[in-house]
């Protein structure tokens, strides 16, 4: 009898890429449900649309590259990209923009660089930024959260809005859409309105916008599960949130009326989703522990700087992409001390 010759180790392997991605998808569920609750049917519709587009694009490119489809599609990374993209865009975005953004993310940002593991940029964020830069009006037309929404659309009306750009009779786009809390805060601060005045509006909750902050909570919960399952390590989320908090608090204490309270930044926009699910994308983040701290903290700081002084109300996507570029260099300079090298051992 002959037995197979296989290289060690011969152990039962605890991890797989598919399983990792599956955990990311599962932990995104609470946040996605919360978003659906607050912002309506547009969220699941875009998730479905983006997922189908991502799988189709990936399949086509793999076919063109002459690769086997099954292993690449089975790893579920395309689904994660689609999900992250869909959670970042406004709920009533025209369907073709979702298709465009997802296809760009998968085909150009991921597959043209060689597929999973080789892409230097986070595909979902690159797709998002492409749309934000090219279609700023559509990309900033959000809906008010459920408690402030006087004209909620049902499933049929939402489908009509997304696929046919038609609204129910008597409603205009201006009437139903609304800027995000981050956007509003920024616009009004630019008009020299004081924060205490701005916060009089019913738009605001405890820390961030009504509804928004709860979405943030659910993403936080999912992120904590990822941490607990050791799918991600604490270094990037903690350093990113920490840096953002420290910076915003610092300015807040300098001038409480011009710079919002630190937790506003944590619970607004894409901060929590970004900290746990986007900045931690292993392919495009730093891999050394020291590097991850630097990477996360830089994203936090850049996010704050762009939100406060830059041209865009939210900046997580830009910050992540910028740091994606720096990641290989940071990794190179933050290599850990190898056992038996350096100061220890000779006393």
């Amino acid at each position: 009898m002959r037995f197979p010759l296989i290289s060690s180790p011969h152990s039962e392997r605890p991890n797989s890429v598919t399983q990792t991605m599956l955990w990311v998808i599962l932990t995104l569920v609470p946040g996605s449900l919360a978003m659906t609750w607050y912002f309506g049917w547009g969220i699941p519709i875009h998730i479905a649309l983006a997922t189908l587009t991502a799988i189709a694009s990936e399949g086509v490119v793999l076919k063109l590259r002459g690769r086997r489809m099954a292993p690449a599609l089975n790893d579920l990374s395309a689904v994660v990209t689609a999900l992250l993209f869909a959670l970042a865009i406004p709920p009533l975005l025209p369907w073709w923009l979702t298709v465009l953004g997802t296809a760009f993310a998968i085909i150009v940002v991921k597959q043209l660089y060689g597929g999973i593991g080789y892409n230097p940029f986070n595909p979902a964020m690159a797709g998002y930024v492409l749309l934000l830069v090219s279609y700023p009006v559509e990309m900033t037309a959000w809906l008010p959260p459920e408690m402030l929404n006087h004209n909620p659309l049902d499933l049929e009306q939402t489908l009509a809005a997304i696929f046919g750009s038609t609204l129910p009779a008597g409603l205009s786009w201006d009437a139903i859409t609304m800027a995000t809390p981050l956007d509003q805060m920024r616009t009004q601060l630019d008009l020299n309105i004081m924060i205490s005045e701005i916060r009089q509006s019913p738009l605001w909750g405890d820390f961030g916008g009504q509804g928004w902050e709860w979405v943030g909570n659910w993403f936080l919960l999912g992120g904590l599960v990822l941490l607990f399952k050791r799918i991600i390590s604490w270094h990037i989320p903690l350093s990113m949130l920490g840096a953002l908090l420290v910076f915003s608090m610092l300015f807040h204490f300098l001038d409480q009326e011009a710079y919002p309270f630190g937790l506003f930044h944590i619970f607004s926009g894409g901060t929590l989703l970004g900290a746990f699910f986007i900045a931690t994308d292993p392919v495009t983040a730093c891999t050394t522990k020291k590097g991850q701290l630097l990477f996360g903290a830089s994203i936090g700081i850049i996010t704050y700087v762009i939100r406060t002084w830059g041209g865009y109300p939210d900046a997580v996507a830009f910050a992540v992409l910028l740091m994606n570029m720096a990641a290989p260099t940071i990794d190179y300079y933050t290599q850990p001390r190898v056992f038996g090298h350096g100061e220890r051992g000779n006393d």
């Binding site: 290289s7 060690s8 292993p282 038996g340």
Partner: protein, 571 residues
């Protein structure tokens, strides 16, 4: 004397190494029954190379009768070990046979047909008063008994015990960690024969002149810890601490164990002796005790046979050279679940194509793993840079980077990322979600680097040879030139005289010519024509001048010689 049974509060401070894994230990399957003596096999196959270093040289020939314990091959060179006949019988062949080696290639072996009498040869006398004996004598005994590291590496023990006069050894570290899953031979040895180990420790302490001994045993072996503690007490072993260490793979790695027990790091690329320590495995200590106190060479060892693939997992005391097949039969044969045969543990062992191989001094475990115990890892997919491999690496390497460069065959870069600090523990491959066989890449990169190094050395040697040859030729050439020069000088002295004569006649010609020219000039001046300078030399005059010049040249002496090359012999 300090003993710290596990129930006591640990007095000894323990340290951590980075990374590592907590693995299911799977040890209970093979510890249920006591160690049994394996049946005497009909035939024993003894590889000449069971150790690191050069192969032993046979001193018997086919047809010769040998007795149990008789040396049949002697060590060659400083790093080598002899081989002894494990039983009495007849040498039937010295030839290449399949041996347990990852390469799967056959190697030279001595084959002994056992006669069933198991008749002992005359053994060297016991050295019971080793405390009063010279370490050198004990070292010779250890070497003569063919003792090598029995934890798997099989490095000749004498070499490790003799780190040179300038390296003083303070601490003897005894490795009873046995951190790999499934393996229990050291555990059972410590449980059942702790006195052998403890006696070995005393001898090793004497040889090294060490001040203290730390015995590290993973805390998943409480019986072993208790038995060893009792034995150390009854044997009144001085300056020895038995320490329960956390079960944490790979705590049994030499450098990892030293870190855990002492907090010291052995410098990269160096041996523990560089920080005053020597590490020996418990089974090696037992073999040392046998050699010194009983005169018995290393002809048997305890082997774990385990896994769902064998019917009755257990530990056997096995004569070195016993065919694995014989042993499998003695533990009830295969169960039908056997999917992979592994020699060594699941993390670092290598697979065997068949059980038609002999066991050697280094074989600690045979694992017939089921497809549940050793599942197919699946197809490797691209690295997603998750860093799990780096988190798990006990040496703090960046396996994902080394993998990247190993794949690109950029050996220099892999070495920059400390490829040679990799201990091939398998932690990185184990945790990789992309199922990349990282260790395989690293082994390959290492052997490629060695090949390259050999090539480089070869090329360097060729270059040096070529350089030496060029220098020799240059020297010969210079000497030839020198001789030539001397000859020429002699010649030129002669020709100088000729040249002098020629110069005289030339001068006369010049004078005559000048006179003629002056006359001509005067004549032309009268006619109103201005003369050129040398245009008016006759062809004859020109030739004369040229010839004279040519002769003058060689006569101008050694300044024109090329400089003699420096003597490069003594650099």
């Amino acid at each position: 004397m300090m003993y710290h049974p596990p129930s006591n509060k640990p007095v000894h401070r323990l340290f951590k190494f980075p990374g590592g894994l907590h693995l299911p230990d799977n040890k209970a399957q093979s510890t249920g029954t006591p160690i049994r003596k394996a049946r005497l096999p009909a035939q024993l196959i003894l590889p000449l190379q069971q150790h690191i270093g050069s192969a032993a040289q046979p001193i018997v020939s086919p047809g010769e009768r040998v007795l149990k314990g008789q040396p049949i091959a002697l060590g060659q060179g400083r790093i080598s070990a002899p081989v002894h006949a494990p039983t009495s019988g007849t040498v039937t062949a010295i030839d290449a046979y399949p041996v347990p080696h990852p390469s799967g290639l056959p190697a030279a072996c001595i084959v002994i047909e056992a006669d069933g009498e198991d008749q002992w040869a005359e053994l060297p006398p016991p050295i019971n008063d080793f405390e009063k004996r010279e370490p050198e004598l004990l070292l010779q005994r250890v070497q003569g008994a063919g003792v090598v590291g029995m934890g798997g590496a099989a490095f000749p023990t004498r070499v490790k015990l003799d780190p040179g006069p300038r390296r003083r050894i303070r601490t003897l570290v005894i490795n009873g960690a046995e951190c790999e899953p499934f393996i229990t031979c050291d555990d059972m040895l410590m449980r059942e024969q702790p006195e052998r180990v403890v006696d070995g420790v005393a001898i090793l302490m004497r040889i090294l002149g060490a001040e203290e001994c730390l015995i590290g045993i993973e805390d998943n072996k409480p019986e072993a810890i208790a038995a060893m503690t009792r034995a150390a007490e009854t044997r009144k072993l001085a300056a020895t601490t038995i320490i329960a260490i956390p079960t944490h793979y790979p705590s049994g790695g030499e450098k990892q164990l030293i870190r855990v027990l002492t907090g010291h790091d052995v410098p990269s690329g160096d041996i523990p002796a560089s920080i005053g320590m020597v590490c020996q495995n418990v089974a090696t200590a037992a073999a040392v005790a046998d050699a010194v106190l009983r005169g018995i060479p290393l002809i048997s060892r305890i082997v774990t046979l385990t896994g769902e693939g064998v019917a009755l997992p257990c530990n056997l005391e096995v004569l070195i050279g016993t065919p694995l097949k014989d042993l499998v039969e003695q533990v009830g044969g295969y169960t039908g679940k056997a999917a992979r045969l592994i020699l060594g543990g699941p993390m670092m062992g290598f697979t065997l194509a068949s059980d038609q191989i002999p066991l050697t001094k280094a074989s600690n475990c045979f694992l017939a793993a089921s497809s549940k115990e050793a599942p197919d890892p699946g197809i490797a997919t691209p690295c997603i840079r998750c860093g799990k491999c780096a988190d798990a690496c006990p040496v703090s390497l960046l396996p994902q980077q080394m993998y990247w460069y190993a794949r690109a065959h950029d050996l220099e870069k892999t070495q920059e990322y400390h490829l040679f600090d990799c201990i091939e523990c398998g932690c990185c491959s184990h945790v990789c979600p992309a199922r990349i066989p990282l260790v395989q890449y690293f082994r390959f990169a290492k052997s490629e680097s060695w090949d390259q190094e050999r090539e480089r050395k070869k090329a360097e040697l060729a270059r040096l040879r070529h350089q030496a040859r060029a220098e020799r030729l240059a020297r010969l050439e210079a000497e030839k030139q020198e001789r030539l020069r001397i000859k020429k000088e002699a010649l030129s002295r002669k020709s100088k005289a000729d040249a002098g004569a020629a110069r005289d006649s030339k001068q006369a010609a010049i004078l005559a010519a000048a006179k003629r020219a002056a006359e001509k000039k005067a004549k032309l001046a009268q006619q109103g024509v201005v003369p050129g300078n040398t245009e008016h030399l006759t062809p004859d005059q020109r030739r004369q001048i040229n010839l004279a010049d040519a002769r003058r040249k060689p006569a101008s002496g050694p300044d024109d010689q090329p400089p003699r090359p420096h003597d490069v012999q003594d650099h």
